[in-house]
Symmetry: C2
Subunit: 122 residues, 2 copies
């Protein structure tokens, strides 16, 4: 049912946790399942994402997509990070079953919310 | 949204993992969200559950209810364990939001499946 990459990022998630003094924080909820996701971004003066962490109450698919999404946006500029869609994250994970696509949206929405939080502060 | 006990059992789950040579294993899936749950039971010759572990791909509510459910069935006889309903588990956790009630069913169903697996083998 789940690809090897999904199981790898679920059982060994990258960038799970919090950042102290983040440049931006985004928290989003998923009405479909009631789950929540929070993303912390550390952005330097050149608008490059230096670090990125996530916390979630969501399922394994939410954990795996967030883990992959944080890997994909790290080192990218804000403009580049905005182009990392949940479709790109799912492709990097070799796909997700249709019932789990909504879980992959949590990471994308939380990253956008964190970038928006940063933009408002700067 | 979530009680302190839910957050405690989510962030510090009890009995997460696998058992080698379990007396019974139950694996169930949730059609609503596509999540899976597996429970391992170690049952002695007096039909007492000596140990119990769980693995899940489910959300925080699934993790918290499984953690609490494994605590509740440990040390119980098979007959007693069958009376541990998901309602009892939710009460022990000080409740769950309505959208998450279906997640709490995973643990109950997996424990029943593991007891059934044990019964078939013995
Ligand atoms: S079911 Fe809620 S995030 Fe996957």
């Amino acid at each position: 049912m789940y690809s090897e990459k999904v199981m790898d990022h679920f059982t060994n998630p990258r960038n799970m946790g919090e950042l102290e003094n983040p440049s931006g924080v985004g928290t989003v909820g998923n009405a479909k399942c009631g789950d929540i996701m929070r993303i912390y971004l550390d952005i330097d003066e050149n608008h490059v994402i230096q670090d990125c962490k996530f916390k979630t109450f969501g399922c394994g698919a939410a954990v795996a997509t967030s883990s992959m999404a944080t890997e994909l946006v790290k080192g990218k500029t804000i403009e580049e990070a905005l182009t990392v869609t949940n479709k790109a994250v799912m492709e990097a994970l070799d796909g997700l079953p249709p019932v789990k696509v909504h879980c992959s949206l949590l990471a994308e929405e939380a990253i956008h919310a964190a970038l928006w939080d940063y933009a408002k502060k700067n």
